[in-house]
């Protein structure tokens, strides 16, 4: 940077190019006004009434989970409150954010269960409890068309596979499924395989009666249920008809078997839950390598990981299915090729948004309460909570403040003051561009504290220039010429600013990671303005000064340059170079 042949012009050009790109992106978004916060512009209010009579503890917990969901990224600045004994209110900035209703109200009760029967357990299964093998085989033959056609149509149930060897797994997996009818012709093979694989991985550590976590049954019990569904449950399955879409959810009791449907209307009889959503340690969404559709990847805590490995080990190689049940609906059912000791993937017909929303909801856990989707949820538009004159007053104040700051800098630093003014203007333009960009991409909203924060950031931004200029003047007082003083002063001012801004960045980072709600929003704004401060300082102010130092007006110490002998308080300044 401080090389002799530094090219300030080039740095400046690159800087403006980047700035132009930022504004180009903003222009693509086509919005030239930032999204304002709840307090200034109002937004959407979603009111949700919980089913039943939840305890206040459960309501509090639900409130904080919903808070984490809507403020997951930290910049949305939504407000979540409880009201009365059973209502939760979510205020979200921006008009018509009805799209969030589902994300907010979803219970996100995730459970893993084994599939005992699909569509119906065949009549033989009830009688042939001695011969467990017939259950999967006959079960397979009935839904064979369904199971085989589903992957072909590409939709709701694809794979449950490894993270890493996903591609290979998937290929085999499809082949396997396609071959289902033929392979199930030999029922005895599957029957003998299933119990033995189930026994080998999980028999030793914890046998039947020790559940992995409360409410769940052990994998062994689930496998037993799967291979040999009791008659009363299969009768229930036969009697069950899939409800119309969007109607009331099935009561999902983890310790009981479950009869439910998936989105395409296939009925399932499922074993008691073997893994609960609470075992999920992290959830992410994305398109896997070699994959086509969006998937949600789940990581488990150690107990869940073990249960998942045992369960996949038990059904590995058989045609038995593993179902992922969300809020009582099967969202994905899949076979496993081998024991999977890692993370699980849920695939279905997700879009990017729905995959991201599901991952987000799973990450923050299930709500302890559920909401009546039909009558319990309403949304309306709300107005700003602050009087209209607050925004204009804030902007006026900011304008006056900025003007005074510029005036002061011009008076005190004269010619250099112009650089300060220029830098502040460029910083303002950059901040505005970033705010526009972020309100488009990350739902960043500007509320009144945010605006005040940006105004305060003016002071911190200007401070870097002041540190720099004072250093230059100090160097010149030591008898260096301006051009030398600029470089020497830069080296020192740079370290000071890096250290001081490092503290600010550290604060922003840590508060963002640990904070919640408004604290996160603040941390984000602080980090943004500090980063912009550094960028401006390095890539605008310094090159500009370097460039100006070639002009006689500055390096000869013109009376108005702010670097003349009188301004420095010395008798005469050194005029460098070929003077």
């Amino acid at each position: 940077m401080a090389r002799k042949n530094a090219r300030p012009g080039r740095t400046l050009a690159v800087f403006f190019l980047v700035l132009a790109v930022v504004y180009g992106l903003v222009a693509l978004g086509g919005k030239w006004k930032p999204e304002l916060g709840l307090d200034l512009q109002g937004g959407t209010r979603i009111m949700m009434i919980a089913n039943g009579h939840p305890t206040s503890e459960a309501m509090k917990q639900a409130r904080s989970i919903i808070d984490e969901r809507v403020n997951g990224s930290g910049v949305t600045a939504a407000k979540v409150t409880t009201q009365g004994s059973n209502e939760i209110i979510v205020d979200i900035p921006g008009q018509s954010r009805d799209d969030l209703v589902n994300e907010v109200s979803q219970t996100a009760q995730l459970r893993f269960r084994l599939v005992a029967c699909q569509q119906s357990c065949s009549t033989s299964s009830s009688t042939s409890s001695v011969l467990p093998s017939t259950a999967p085989s006959s079960g397979a033959s009935a839904p064979a068309s369904g199971a085989a056609s589903a992957p072909a149509s590409g939709a709701p149930r694809a794979g449950l596979a490894y993270d890493l060897k996903q591609a290979k797994g998937k290929k085999k997996h499809k082949k396997h499924k396609a071959g289902t009818p033929s392979s199930s012709a030999s029922p005895s093979a599957t029957a003998s395989a299933a119990p033995s694989t189930a026994a080998s991985p999980s028999a030793t550590p914890s046998t039947s009666t020790s559940p992995d976590q409360k409410g769940d049954v052990s994998v062994d019990q689930a496998v037993q249920f799967m291979n040999n569904p009791p008659a009363d449950w299969s009768a229930k399955l036969d009697a069950y008809t899939c409800p119309a879409k969007g109607s009331a959810n099935v009561e999902d009791n983890p310790s009981q078997p479950l009869v439910t449907c998936d989105s395409s209307g296939v009925k399932y009889l499922l074993s008691p839950a073997i893994i609960e959503g609470t075992q999920v340690s992290d959830a992410n969404s994305g398109i896997p390598q070699n994959g086509v559709g969006y998937v949600v990847t789940l990581d488990f805590h150690s107990a869940g990981r073990k249960a998942f490995a045992d369960a996949t080990g038990a059904i590995a190689g058989t045609n038995q299915l593993f179902a992922i049940v969300l809020d009582g609906d099967v969202i994905s059912a899949a076979t496993a090729d081998s024991r999977i000791n890692g993370s699980a993937q849920i695939s279905g017909n997700f879009t990017q948004a729905s995959a991201a929303a599901l991952a987000n909801n799973l990450k923050f856990g299930a709500l302890p309460v559920s909401f009546d989707k039909k009558n319990g949820i309403s949304h309306s538009t709300i107005g700003p909570s602050l009087a209209g004159n607050q925004l204009s007053a804030g902007l006026w104040a900011g304008g006056i403040g900025l003007l005074l700051v510029m005036l002061y800098c011009l008076l005190y630093y004269r010619g250099l003051g112009l650089v300060v003014v220029g830098s502040l203007v460029v910083a303002g333009v950059t901040v505005y561009g970033m705010v526009l960009l972020l309100s488009k991409t990350a739902d960043f909203t500007l509320d009144l504290p945010g605006i005040a924060g940006l105004i305060v950031a003016v002071g911190i931004t200007a401070d870097s220039f002041i540190v720099y200029f004072e250093r230059i003047r100090d160097e010149m007082r030591d008898g260096k010429s301006m051009r030398v003083a600029v470089e020497a002063g830069w080296r020192r001012a740079r370290n000071t600013c890096l250290a001081a801004d490092g503290v600010s960045l550290l604060a922003a980072l840590i508060l963002y990671i640990f904070g919640a709600g408004d604290v996160r929003g603040f941390a984000f704004a602080l980090g943004l303005s500090t980063a912009i401060d550094l960028v401006i300082f390095f890539f605008f102010t310094h090159p500009t000064i370097q460039w100006l130092s070639h002009y006689k007006f500055f390096n000869r110490g013109h009376r108005l340059s702010g670097l003349d002998a009188e301004a420095l308080g010395v008798d005469r300044i050194t005029v460098g170079g070929r003077a």
Binding site: M59, K60, S64, D67, K79, T81, T82, E87, I89, S380, T381, I382, G383, P384, L386, A387, G388, N389, Q390, A393, G394, A397, G398, G401, L404, V405, Y408, Y412, L448, P449, A452, G453, I455, V456, G459, D463, I466, V467, E470, R473, D474, T496, A499, A500, G502, V503, S504, A507, I510, L511, F514, A516, G517, D518, V519, F522, L526, E566, L568, G569
Partner: protein, 407 residues
């Protein structure tokens, strides 16, 4: 202006110097008084926590006409002016086309009636069109707990950061003490003024935290630079630190002016134009905190740091060296007669008339000798034989003439 810039130079050279480090007890006493006042205020009056922390009562009003922003504003003024303390800063929003939502902190039955009356009078609806409900805190305990957790981690990290950057853990201790000083003062001002603590205020506190540390690091960076080479400069640690503060003084003044002007503008505009408002609360916190932040990094952090350092061997060595350097040439500062020097009739130079300068520790000290030849000065006898310098006998580097150097 020019006087101020002159000051800048004389502060830089050390010609003029304010004894920040030496008069530490004065500064400590001033801060102690302020802090005691703040703590008293805090314990006696307590903080006025806002609706977001405490929860409260919500009124939903169905107005006869449309619920416009104007109606909301007038209700806000009416409820705020109803004289009920818990309702002094209500949140009023429109909801849908015909509803108004008014949120205030929990009130007693009598106060409830007053507020209700203020609402019904302004909106011209009967009391049965107003429904009441309890709202919970949006800033519940867990948010606060998380924020505090983050804060603790941040403070530990920042201590490590400063200690690593400056290589002196005592600097991080001093910086943290200064930080605590600022935060206590700001919180005290809140308690004393009775302003409501809202999430915006918390944001303000965090800003102060950042600013205070930022400012302290800038000052400490200069101290670090000045004290790097004490052996050569023959200064004591305290003197070097004091010089550093004096050298950054102009920056500190400028920075505080530049940082405080916008905040002051917000404070002024909001106080004059708006009366009670979020903006005013926030601006007050920022103004007090930032002023305290600049003050504490000069008057608290630096003296404290020097005091913490004072027992260290290096520092004591530097002090001994500095004392010896001062004694080596006791006449160094005696003025020499030069042509055109002002000499008064009674023979006493003008500088000596100022009483204060003659009270310096070494008899009288005046301006340093500026004569280039060192005339008028009797050099003391050498303390030992002159030794050969380290470079003697070694081959010295040579430099070819420009024409031979190529290019």
């Amino acid at each position: 202006m020019s006087k101020f810039t002159r000051l800048g130079n004389s502060l830089y050279t050390g010609e003029k110097s304010i004894d920040f480090v030496g008069r530490k007890w004065t500064w400590y006493a001033i801060s102690a008084v302020i802090i005691i006042a703040a703590i008293l205020g805090l314990s006696l009056k307590g903080l006025n926590m806002g609706l977001e922390f405490t929860g409260g009562t919500q009124y939903t009003v169905t107005v006869s006409g449309t619920a416009s922003q104007k109606v909301a504003d007038s209700v806000r003024t009416a409820v705020g002016g109803s004289g009920v303390k818990a309702a002094s800063d209500p949140t009023v929003t429109t909801s849908g086309a015909h509803n108004l939502i008014i949120q205030i902190k929990s009130v007693s039955q009598a106060e409830n009636t007053t507020v209700l009356k203020a609402i019904t009078d302004t909106t011209h609806v009967s009391a049965k069109n107003v429904s009441q409900d309890h709202v919970g805190a949006s800033w519940g305990k867990e948010v606060a707990t998380k924020a505090i957790q983050g804060l603790v981690v941040f403070l530990v990290a920042v201590m490590l950061f400063i200690a690593m950057y400056t290589r002196q853990w005592k600097m991080s201790v001093a910086a943290l003490v200064a930080l605590a000083h600022d935060v206590v003062i700001t919180v005290g001002v809140y308690a004393l003024s009775g302003f409501e603590v809202t999430p915006a205020t918390v944001t303000g506190f965090l800003t102060i935290l950042g600013f205070s540390l930022y400012d302290t690091v800038v000052v400490f960076d200069k101290i670090k630079e000045n004290t790097k080479n004490l052996r050569a400069t023959k200064r004591s640690y305290a003197d070097a630190a004091n010089l550093a503060v004096n050298q950054t003084l102009v920056r500190s003044i400028n920075t505080s002016i530049v940082a405080l002007i916008p905040v002051a503008a917000i404070l002024w505009v909001s106080a004059v134009q708006l009366g009670t408002s979020t903006l005013k609360d926030l601006a007050l916190a920022l103004f007090v905190g930032m002023a305290a932040g600049t003050y504490s990094s000069i008057f608290i952090a630096t003296p404290l740091f020097v005091q913490l350092k004072s027992g260290e061997k290096e520092v004591l060595d530097a002090e001994r060296r500095a004392r010896r350097a001062r004694q080596a040439d006791p006449y160094a500062n005696v003025p020499a007669f030069v042509e055109g020097m002002e000499v008064e009739d009674d023979g006493i130079p003008a500088e000596l008339r100022e009483g204060e300068e003659t009270t310096a520790p070494h008899g009288f000290r005046t301006r340093p000798n500026t004569d280039a030849m060192g005339r008028g000065r009797t050099a003391p006898p050498a303390r030992g034989p002159v030794r050969e310098s380290g470079s003697s006998g070694r081959r010295q580097p040579t430099r070819q003439p420009r024409s031979k150097r190529g290019k």
